[in-house]
């Protein structure tokens, strides 16, 4: 157990090192990073001051060390467009992205788990085939296109017909969450469904399921209580991947629905050439995903002792 935990910890540290080095080097790949970190309208003195602050006259490893210290303090510098601390802008945007991710997770889980269970229980029947179609479609639909088609139907078409329609942009009441959450969650339904199905199939084959049936429990109790509870353990490990998918998806989906979150902040900053913000968002999101994955790995090892021995 300890060696497994240690292994995961070391890997997480390496991952954090990797993403910080990557962003650090990219900032320096095109010449003078001080020039891209200081607004154009400031005097030359500001650029010189920034060079000093970044330690550009010092060897690369010293520069990296300064860079890491800033990150550790949560200091990503000042936004070129917003003229205020990047960390402030990031913190402001977190609730929007987080709440959208939770809504999308709800969509993915509420479709994926029941369909996964049903397709395992009714293996090779019509239901299983429907689930298969859903899984393949979910994997293959471009999320940005799905979002626009949702807008076309629920925003434009229903509105033109004088029927109740959904708001097409912005974050507000629960109704504003529906389209972005579906567009983002749909891509993940396939994964949740597949994992639930295969782990459910394993569980249904096991001796304790035969035992539960032999005890005379109703099929409903056997499936939805005894089996599902055990089948959900592998699904939990998938959460790290789901969150990664949502963070990638947020760039696209938030852009389409004018959602005031981190993904949109990153894209707007790339187009506006606001490097401090771009690097701040990428490092924050990157480290967040690494930590979540570590937590998931540890939880999984605690729930399922086999992992500690089999997984490297």
């Amino acid at each position: 157990m300890t060696s497994y935990l240690l292994n995961r910890l070391v890997q997480s540290a390496i991952n954090i090192f990797f993403i910080t080095v990557l962003v650090f080097l990219l900032a320096r790949a095109t010449g003078d990073p001080a020039a891209s970190l200081v607004p154009d309208d400031l005097p030359e003195a500001a650029v010189i001051a920034m060079r000093e602050r970044l330690g550009l006259d010092q060897p690369l490893h010293r520069q990296y060390w300064l860079f890491v210290q800033d990150i550790a303090r949560g200091d990503f510098g000042i936004s070129l467009q917003g003229h205020r601390p990047v960390s402030e802008m990031i913190i402001e945007r977190i609730p929007a992205t987080f709440s959208l991710a939770m809504a999308a997770l709800f969509v993915a889980v509420s479709m994926g788990i029941p369909l996964g269970v049903l397709s395992a229980v009714y293996r090779d029947t019509f239901i299983d085939r429907v689930a298969k179609v859903v899984a393949f479609l979910g994997q293959s639909t471009p999320p940005f296109w799905l979002a626009i088609m949702l807008i076309l139907f629920f925003g434009v078409f229903l509105y033109e017909q004088g029927l109740p329609s959904l708001p097409i942009a912005g974050r507000g009441g629960p109704a504003t969450y529906i389209m972005p959450a579906v567009a983002m969650g749909w891509a993940v339904v396939a994964g949740v469904l597949r994992i639930t199905r295969s782990s459910m199939l394993d569980v249904l084959d096991s001796d304790y399921m035969t035992m539960a049936r032999a005890k005379g429990l109703s099929p409903k109790t056997v499936i939805w209580k005894h089996a599902l509870r055990n089948a959900l353990i592998p699904v939990v490990t998938y959460f790290g991947l789901i969150l990664a998918a949502f963070m990638n998806g947020s760039v696209v989906i938030e852009q389409i629905f004018a959602w005031p979150g981190l993904g949109r902040l990153a894209l707007v900053s790339v187009t506006g050439r606001d490097y401090p913000v771009v690097q701040g968002v990428v490092i924050t999101v990157g480290i967040f995903l690494i930590v979540i994955n570590l937590v998931v790995d540890v939880l999984y090892a605690l729930i399922d002792p086999r992992i500690r021995y089999t997984k490297r």
């Binding site: 990797f18 990219l26 393949f136 471009p142 469904l193 199905r197 295969s198 990638n248 696209v252």
Partner: protein, 306 residues
Amino acid sequence: MTLDGSDTSASGSVAALARTSSRQRWLDARAALARAPLVPIFVLGMLLVCAVFAPLIAPHDPIRINVMENLTPPVWQEGGSSKHLLGTDKLGRDILSRIIHGSRLSLSLSLMVILLGGSAGVVLGLISGFFGGILDAIIQRAVEAMLALPTILVALVFVFTFGFGFWNVIFILSPFIAARFARMVRGETLSVKERDYVAIAKVIGASRGRIIARHLFPNVANTVIVLSTLEVGHLILVESSLSFLGVGIPPPNPAWGLMVAEGREYIATAYWISLFPGLAILAAVLSLNLFGDWLRDALDPRRKQL
């Protein structure tokens, strides 16, 4: 029991085994072919034909602007014309011709990434699995670190630094693909490595390079083929997302993602600008996924999945 005697009996039984298994394999292959997904294969065939012969098939120049005919609806709709079967965009460019030419961009970009990233990944995976030890540890740590990155966000930083364009998209996506391939191939190599014929090759004195090339690679090739098929689909989705965001393939190229984005502001009046390129992406990726899924079962029935 002489060395000679045991040798002959062993080779005899091996030959018998090989006979039955090759016959069995032939039967399996026939059964698998009977289950081949015809519609996806047809769609992929069309896609390939479109990509290769785009200029011959497309009725119009994909980037020629003709404002006089802009926002023409598809042919079956009022105001549509048979000149533009799927209608035109805001600049009067023919949607159908753009989709046909777009297949060229999407496919060539994805195949290029598979070629560059995939082959790097295969080599790394083989080395990692075969040699083990410190080399394996280093490669696997790097692969995991790569896979922990949020692809689209990292692509944004990369694009910020180097600008966007066809080749830049290829360069940023290749390492991600290399990591996926390396992980998969390493796993396969580890299991193939333990088989008798690899041990025998070692005993005979085959060089390590020869063992990797002649004994390991052919056995992981199936996995590589299946993974490549599925990853082409995945790459089409990622590339089109980047192009949609305006950080992938630049306009006026007829990239599918870009076309969907161009139709966004006209969604209330000219839905066809976004609808059809998106359907093209969906059809291509869905077909690749279905085909890859069948291929996996056909090449390796043991690993049947959903």
